[in-house]
């Protein structure tokens, strides 16, 4: 079975193996499960905030601008970054595999490793919030929470793909891609994206929140200036294609020896 998968998608398998059991993946899981800890702290003193409100605010203010981008960034920049550090990218390019397939393999491998962590983290946060609220007698709210959670999962998946594609390309162009990504997330996405409307439309955060609000009818998810769902999805797909094309071109031209 393993050899069949290996033959069909060697780079994907290699990427998944590269991450499985490693410290990067542990960090990604820690970042993804962090909101569940906040959910537990929220249960200590829920006040008049409903569980769905808490989940939505945590998603909009903590997960989308900071935690999810950093978690995916760690994987996306390490997929090629580790090969560059260890000087093994050369051997990968010597194999009879096209550069496009190498990039696509790394992209799919990153998603296969990153998506479960991101999505399980979200579900765990929702479960802790809902079950905990039910146990403490505040009303679990699970019925109302489900459509919101599904919309979050959809938007998080789109965001994961977008960040993975963009930073795979960046990691082939800039040596310290992780730091560039972190500066981008903290300064552009978290700080400037909140205050400057012009920048907002050019941030990953905006498209994730637009997809989130497009996938649910909940008024909690709605915000002014949201891009319609179809346009947001097309933009995400287009940026992914462009980023993969840039990464492929860069991998063709870069000096590896």
């Amino acid at each position: 079975m393993a050899s069949v998968v290996w033959r069909a998608a060697p780079i994907v398998t290699q990427t998944v193996r590269q991450f499985s059991g490693g410290r990067t993946l542990r960090l990604v899981w820690a970042l993804s499960l962090l909101p569940a800890i906040f959910a537990a702290i929220y249960l200590l003193r829920p006040g008049d905030v409903s569980p769905t409100e808490f989940l939505t605010t945590t998603y909009q203010e903590l997960i989308v601008p900071t935690l999810l981008p950093i978690a995916v960034l760690l994987l996306a920049t390490a997929a090629f970054g580790n090969e560059l550090d260890d000087r093994t990218l050369l051997y990968l390019t010597l194999k009879p595999v096209s550069r496009l397939r190498i990039v696509l393999g790394k992209f799919v491998g990153t998603l296969l490793v990153g998506l479960p962590a991101v999505l399980v983290g979200l579900v765990a946060t929702a479960l802790v919030t809902s079950i905990g609220s039910g146990l403490t007698g505040a009303g679990g709210d699970w019925g109302a929470m489900q459509p919101v959670l599904l919309a979050m999962l959809g938007s998080a998946a789109a965001g994961t793909a977008l960040i993975a594609a963009v930073f795979l390309a960046v990691s082939l162009i800039v040596p310290r891609a992780l730091l560039v990504g972190i500066i981008y997330i903290f300064i552009w996405e978290s700080l400037l994206g909140r205050f400057l409307p012009g920048i907002r439309n050019l941030s990953i955060r905006h498209y994730m929140l637009s997809i989130f609000s497009g996938l649910t009818d909940s008024p909690l998810a709605a915000f002014s200036g949201a891009t319609p769902l179809r346009e947001a999805l097309i933009t995400v797909a287009a940026v992914c294609v462009v980023a993969i094309a840039v990464a492929t071109l860069r991998l063709r031209s870069m000096q590896l020896s």
């Binding site: 410290r23 990067t24 960090l27 970042l31 702290i41 935690l67 950093i70 040596p175 730091l179 972190i182």
Partner: protein, 295 residues
């Protein structure tokens, strides 16, 4: 008369190991050389331009508020008397995030490659001992972090005094501010630098070290905030939980120094300084334990 000796054929020369006869500069020089090399490596000196971009960007980012603050004071103070743009606590609060990212940039660059490229045994087989290595790295991280905490604040202080009608008198009158800047700048630099070095000492991969520093920062900030909110009624617990967050600890230090309480921590100055020194001592202890296993 004797015939001149025929040139000997097949003579063996002693070309074996020669002792070093040059000047011996001592351990202190070795430590300083390693610290200097570590700083150059972290800043990307003698490396391609791509390695210099991030440190340069961070220096620019930390100097922009200084230039803007002095500029506004120079041009607008006549138009808007009483306006006090960019006070020192505001400055330290504003550049804290940049200082954090700066430490996440330099600390892994100083330690991780030595581990990954397995050159530590080479270092330790020469004049440098393990404690020397630790000292050099801490020194390098501290000095570089001082360049983003102490230096810009001092430039701000000098700029403000030069805008006064009588700069020399203003400098004399505001020496207390300079003292506070020195205390805050040095403490923040070594507090952040020591934490960055400790995290980086656990891994050979720079990306992991950067990730752990950022995760630790987010985790302590968020948990401190959430627990403070959860224990709102318990004043004592709230105070101590505030110290979990580096942002609020440094905000409290700067706020208390300039008598503008901030960060939600209402503790006396010695307590805040004590907590920060305690963190530095623990970090130094951990890194010493990492590199000097037999001690």
């Amino acid at each position: 008369m004797t015939a001149p000796a025929a040139p000997r054929y097949g003579e063996i020369y002693d070309r074996g190991y020669q002792h070093y006869t040059g000047p011996r500069l001592g351990r202190r020089h070795a430590i300083w050389a390693l610290a200097r090399y570590s700083m150059a490596r972290a800043l990307g000196i003698k490396k391609p331009w791509t390695a210099k971009v991030i440190p340069i960007l961070l220096y620019v980012a930390v100097l922009i508020p200084v230039v803007v603050g002095i500029g506004i004071r120079a041009f607008l103070s006549a138009l808007l008397p009483g306006v006090n743009p960019l006070d020192y606590p505001e400055f330290f609060g504003g550049v804290f995030l940049i200082e954090g990212i700066f430490v996440a940039t330099i600390a892994p660059e100083m330690l991780c490659p030595d581990r990954q490229e397995r050159v530590l045994p080479l270092y330790f087989s020469r004049a440098i001992t393990r404690p020397d290595y630790v000292l050099a790295k801490l020194l390098a991280a501290g000095i570089l972090t001082l360049s983003v905490s102490l230096v810009p604040a001092t430039i701000l202080w000098i700029g403000r005094q030069l805008l006064e009608p009588s700069p020399l008198t203003a400098m004399r009158d505001h020496l207390d501010d300079l003292g506070r800047i020195a205390v805050a700048g040095v403490l923040i630099a070594f507090y952040l630098g020591a934490v960055g070095i400790v995290v980086s000492s656990f891994t050979g991969r720079k990306s992991i070290a950067v990730g752990v520093i950022i995760l630790g920062f987010l985790l302590t900030e968020a948990i401190s905030g959430a627990l403070t909110f959860a224990f709102e009624e318990n004043e004592r617990a709230r105070q101590w939980l505030g110290f979990l967050s580096p942002t609020r600890t440094t905000a409290a230090l700067v706020g208390t120094l300039w008598k503008q309480p901030a960060g939600g921590i209402d503790a006396p100055l010695p307590a805040i300084v004590g907590v920060m020194l305690g963190v530095i001592v623990v970090c130094v202890g951990v890194i010493y334990w990492r590199y000097v296993p037999d001690a």
